[in-house]
Symmetry: C2
Subunit: 333 residues, 2 copies
């Protein structure tokens, strides 16, 4: 099979551009110039702009034996779109940097772009440029420009004592999927497909983020590094503490069956759920639209005090994250 | 000395943010939210937007024994700003992704940010976010959002037969610097400092690009991959051919002394000059402001015909790039 070192950069870019098709690279109203010049040229959108970047490195953020190249393409866009969603915005333009090993198969790189195309086709946004370079470590780095038409946004530094803490969806499913896949348990008859989908095909909560913002929610972030680690970031940014009631955290009905011992670890620290974590005063939580109420769950409360998280279980026992050995000062990953 | 694996991600980000200082991360009028949230939040600028990304990988795009970390920080921003300059725009917001090896020194990474700060302090733009991740290969990937207030831009696909071809500055100096540094010739008393500066501290031609655009020039790109390779991209995008008169290409007075054999190779293929290559019809070239005329040189003409470059020497001999073995279908670098 053809490898990267066998074809020219020009040829490779042309092939990838063809996979995306004009539908994913050009929008006459928004984009003057897409892939193929020194920069993309875009019409500004009405509203405020959101700029974010997120990178996935082989053997650090993904394992090629577990994540297909198509899923990798999907996920690398999804993780960035999720950041835009957490501010209440929608993605507009995407640039992609591929760091490729000369021995990689061209087909694998094409598959990445099939995944990118699928994701952008479903959740919007246009791939308007990028950079393809040689690297001894395979990585994909994505930068997304988004917009919030309402000219407001949600952030991490606005949580206030008394705010209720809520999450969308179910927590820990992506980590469960990774755990099952890592142990070769890929037989779809034997493991719940929702765990695999949660890991391989995460869905950025774009509509949900926009609705939360519209409903008056001011504080949100996406759960990418794990519930506790991400909530701790909110606590640090807002200079508050938080209490989580462990038995309120929404989880998949199969999670405890498959992980009778480790389920809580997956829920608290698993990461990559790309659900939204948000806080709001009671009156705003109470008045959320019905669909948001149904798709989200209140799991705790914001308190005064230095940044810390208290985990409270059904028996009334409380632990701080320090007690259970949680260290948010992790080294790089 | 402290290494990346010895400190937390949180600590690292805080240190880098402190190096930048608020002057390089925040502008009250333009930036609602900078480093530290899921996305940066920006006020849109009046005009059209430019989005670009460029990455430098260790041992592919830079050699640590030649390029200091501070120069690397400078260059990684300069190469992106140069892309924005080539469209006639100015840089606004920057996000930086660092792929770091656990064993790298913290001080080296801090030095990168000193270089970034120096560059942004001099040429504008704000570092509003990024991503720091672990990678077995050290790389720095930068994404820049720029603006063209005039709502027009220069591009590669607008060259027309009859256009004169011009370049700013001197060509080949950056490659000469690299060549001298690669051979350990770093004694400033022995080699012209302008070669070293051209390689280590390239200057994006932001003012020049804006003036060219204002003067009616429609076609420009920056010389990052080498004069012939980059001009070939203009030819492909515009479906034209080009003739360059070799003895008209502006070079540093010392270039032939230091490279009596290879000087032309450095000029035609060296790359990383970050000068601007532009084309325009004679009336526009003639009416350029005096300072632009002084700082740029006409080196050839755009012709009809399939994409090809003819190199014409002072004796009247002509070669096509094919004749001299030029292959623009290079594999990835």
């Amino acid at each position: 099979m053809e490898r990267i070192k066998d074809i020219s950069e020009f040829d490779l870019i042309t092939r990838l551009e063809n996979i995306l098709g004009t539908g994913i690279t050009q929008n006459p109203g928004e984009i003057h110039l897409s892939i193929g010049d020194d920069t993309a040229v875009l019409n500004p959108q009405e509203g405020i702009q959101l700029l974010t970047t997120d990178t996935m490195v082989e053997n650090v953020h993904f394992l090629p034996e577990i994540t297909s190249m198509k899923d990798l393409g999907w996920k690398s866009i999804a993780s960035n779109y999720s950041d835009v969603a957490s501010m209440g915005g929608r993605p507009i333009s995407v640039v992609i940097t591929l760091g490729l090993k000369p021995n990689q198969y061209v087909k694998d790189v094409e598959d990445i772009y099939h995944g990118v195309r699928d994701h952008c086709g479903k959740y919007g946004g246009y791939v308007v440029g990028g950079d393809i370079i040689r690297s001894e470590t395979f990585f994909i780095s994505v930068c997304v420009l988004g917009v919030s038409e309402s000219k407001t946004f949600m952030s991490r530094n606005t949580a206030r004592p008394g705010d209720k803490i809520a999450v969308t969806g179910e927590i820990g499913s992506a980590a469960a999927g990774l755990e099952l896949l890592s142990h070769g348990k890929t037989d779809p008859h034997n493991i719940p497909s929702q765990f695999i989908a949660a890991h391989n095909r995460p869905i950025p909560k774009i509509q949900t983020g926009a609705k939360l913002l519209k409903s008056g929610v001011k504080t949100a972030m996406d759960i990418s590094d794990g519930l506790v680690g991400d909530l701790m970031k909110v606590c640090h940014s807002s200079d508050v503490s938080a209490t989580i009631e462990l038995d309120r955290i929404p989880i998949n009905g199969d999670l405890k069956n498959y992980f009778p011992v480790d389920w809580l670890k997956l829920v608290l620290g698993g990461g990559e759920d790309y659900e939204l974590l948000f806080t709001a005063p009671v009156p705003i939580m109470t008045c959320l639209p019905d669909d948001l109420k149904e798709s989200s769950t209140i799991i705790g409360i914001i308190n005064n005090g230095p940044p810390e998280i208290i985990l409270s279980d059904a028996n009334g026992y409380s632990h701080t994250t320090k007690d259970v050995g949680w260290d948010h000062f992790q080294t790089l990953k």
